[in-house]
């Protein structure tokens, strides 16, 4: 029997999609950037919710075949914006180089964009094939953007890691009000180095321990997680 079945969940609640906590301002900024047709760069550390924001954007604007989401990490070969756009219209579009109009390009987790791709983005953006571009990256400086593209970027915003209170909110959203005390969750969050992804992974360990021992204290969590990291 899985640990979550003990807690009356049918599926693993930690993998459940929930609302975006803590970064509402940035989400608003992203929506606005798309509405007004601008380029936006989101900077944030691993696990600070970059992909989450893009997912929310897809939820909001998806469904019209207007969004191209590319995760740079999962690409086998080099990124080619031109191909991505051309393939949007199917094989015929690719053959005859018909590009769609008013697309929204979401580039996730980009470490490096070649200057060629930047120029392509610039061209497609200028000619209105791309309505709006959102790029998420770990560090803006390392992208080495050229001056002309920098001028086109409306804003770069930084994602901050969640506060402890928000981390508790995230947890409560997923697992409900009655499991674990707030203090225990906060300790778990601190021990995960304020990294949301790591925090959720650790939560699973904590929950398993909780199933075995309903009166889990902060010290127990500390011991458990410190052992886990070693």
């Amino acid at each position: 029997m899985e640990w979550y079945e003990e807690l009356d969940f049918d599926e693993n609640p930690l993998q459940r999609e929930t609302r975006c906590v803590g970064n509402e301002e940035i989400l608003k900024e992203a929506y606005y950037s798309i509405m007004s047709g601008n380029i936006l760069v989101i900077e944030g550390e691993n696990g600070s919710g970059k992909t989450k924001i893009l997912k929310e954007v897809i939820k909001k604007f998806g469904g019209y075949g207007r969004i191209a989401y590319v995760n740079a990490k999962e690409l086998q070969k080099e990124l080619n914006i031109e191909e991505i756009l051309a393939k949007k219209n199917g094989i015929l579009g690719w053959l005859f180089k018909k590009y769609p109009k008013n697309m929204i390009l979401l580039l996730d987790d980009v470490e490096h964009i070649s200057s060629r791709n930047l120029e392509r983005i610039k061209y497609f953006f200028d000619s209105n094939h791309l309505r709006s571009v959102i790029i998420t990256t770990k560090s803006y400086e390392k992208l080495h953007l050229s001056e002309s593209i920098k001028q086109r970027i409306r804003k770069t915003i930084q994602l901050h890691s969640l506060s402890e209170f928000e981390a508790v909110q995230v947890f409560r959203d997923k697992l409900g009000e009655h499991i674990l005390s707030d203090r225990v969750i906060k300790t778990a969050y601190q021990l995960s180095g304020k990294n949301t992804q790591k925090f959720l992974n650790n939560c699973e360990h904590v929950c398993k321990a909780y199933v075995a021992n309903k009166n889990l204290t902060e010290d127990d969590v500390r011991k458990l997680l410190e052992r886990g990291t070693r």
């Binding site: 929506y31 047709g37 031109e82 060629r116 610039k122 061209y123 000619s127 094939h129 002309s148 001028q151």
Partner: protein
């Protein structure tokens, strides 16, 4: 999502979009440059146009496309899309579509407009020159920042004509903004000038700043951007401290009157109360400057039918066929595809 600032002001799309040539029928401030280039094209010359970022190079090219297009005689190509070298042959073949590619049919007397020409190197120029000599290409316009003139083929140089682009002055920049938004009461002329001064004479930067200012002011619920607000805005921008929302109370009416007296230097403004919205009216005569209050009564009677936010003086009427909104809704890309033939 209708709560975006420009929707609230009655625009469908963002009026300060930085994409080039939302209005491709008229390029403000570069009439002379366009004339010179057109002359060069008609005389089968190679025209070099150089300009800084965000000055309107691409906008000028699109204007040229609009002028010369229609007879499938113009090729527009942005050089930043090429893979490593410019493929003139396929550009020319493309005129006749798939069949042209198959049988290698090339048209004659084409006009080639090359955007971002700084990417070209001597090999490309050599190839261009050979096509130019054979008469396939009648005239070439090269546009870019920092074109490598040293790599031009000597043969080319005899036919080359250089056109420089001067920086826009304030009045023209004002016109650019006015053309996009009409006579919006939110942004007085004075403020637009101020913004332009602070954006290094870069039109694109100015548009971006205008957008930010409008967004912020609409979100904080003001009907009009004051100088204080602008100062605060730039101050915030330069010191991006931890974001603290500065909720300034709306400036009282009396204060606004004072500010306006300063503004009189450039644009004479009279406030009129119309449906509790402050409307702005440009008064041409300088004499009225002394007694704005008296004028206020007069205008109130005359002005009864302005609709929405867009008030158009006669000068703008002649420029546009429709309102600014209609023009904005007309997408540029209805006309510009990728390599299209005009």
């Amino acid at each position: 999502m209708n709560d975006v600032w420009f929707r609230e002001l009655g625009f469908h799309t963002n009026p300060f979009s930085i994409k080039p040539a939302v209005f491709h029928d008229h390029v403000i401030g570069f009439d002379k440059v366009v004339d010179e280039i057109s002359y060069g094209i008609l005389n089968n010359k190679v025209v070099l146009v150089e300009g800084d970022y965000g000055q309107g190079k691409s906008s000028i090219l699109k204007k040229l496309l609009n002028d010369f297009g229609g007879k499938k005689q113009v090729i527009y190509y942005s050089c930043n899309r090429m893979d490593s070298r410019l493929n003139v042959k396929s550009l020319l073949n493309g005129r006749y579509g798939f069949v042209g590619q198959l049988f290698d049919i090339k048209p004659k007397e084409m006009i080639l407009l090359l955007d971002e020409a700084q990417e070209l190197n001597s090999k490309d120029y050599e190839r261009l020159y050979s096509y130019y000599q054979e008469g396939y290409i009648k005239s070439i316009v090269l546009v870019g920042k920092g074109i490598k003139k040293g790599e031009l083929v000597p043969g080319f140089k005899a036919h080359t004509e250089e056109v420089g682009m001067a920086k826009m002055n304030e009045d023209l920049a004002l016109q650019v903004v006015k053309k996009r938004i009409g006579d919006l009461s939110l942004l007085p002329d004075m403020i637009i000038r101020k913004i332009y001064q602070r954006s290094d004479n870069n039109v694109r930067l100015m548009l971006k700043t205008c957008e930010e200012v409008c967004k912020k002011s609409v979100e904080s619920g003001r009907k009009r951007v004051t100088e204080e607000f602008l100062k605060q805005f730039f101050h915030d921008k330069e010191t991006p401290a931890p974001k603290v929302e500065i909720e300034k109370p709306k400036a009282p009416e009396v204060k606004k009157e004072e500010v306006k007296v300063e503004e009189k230097k450039i644009a004479k403004t009279v406030i009129i109360d119309h449906r509790k919205e402050k409307k702005e009216e440009k008064v041409a005569e300088k004499v009225q400057e002394e007694k704005p209050k008296d004028k206020k009564e007069d205008v109130k009677v005359e002005e009864k039918k302005p609709k929405g936010h867009v008030y158009r003086p006669d000068e703008y009427k002649s420029m546009n066929k429709g309102s600014a909104e209609e023009l904005l809704n007309k997408q540029t890309d209805e006309i510009f595809g990728d390599e299209q033939y005009y």
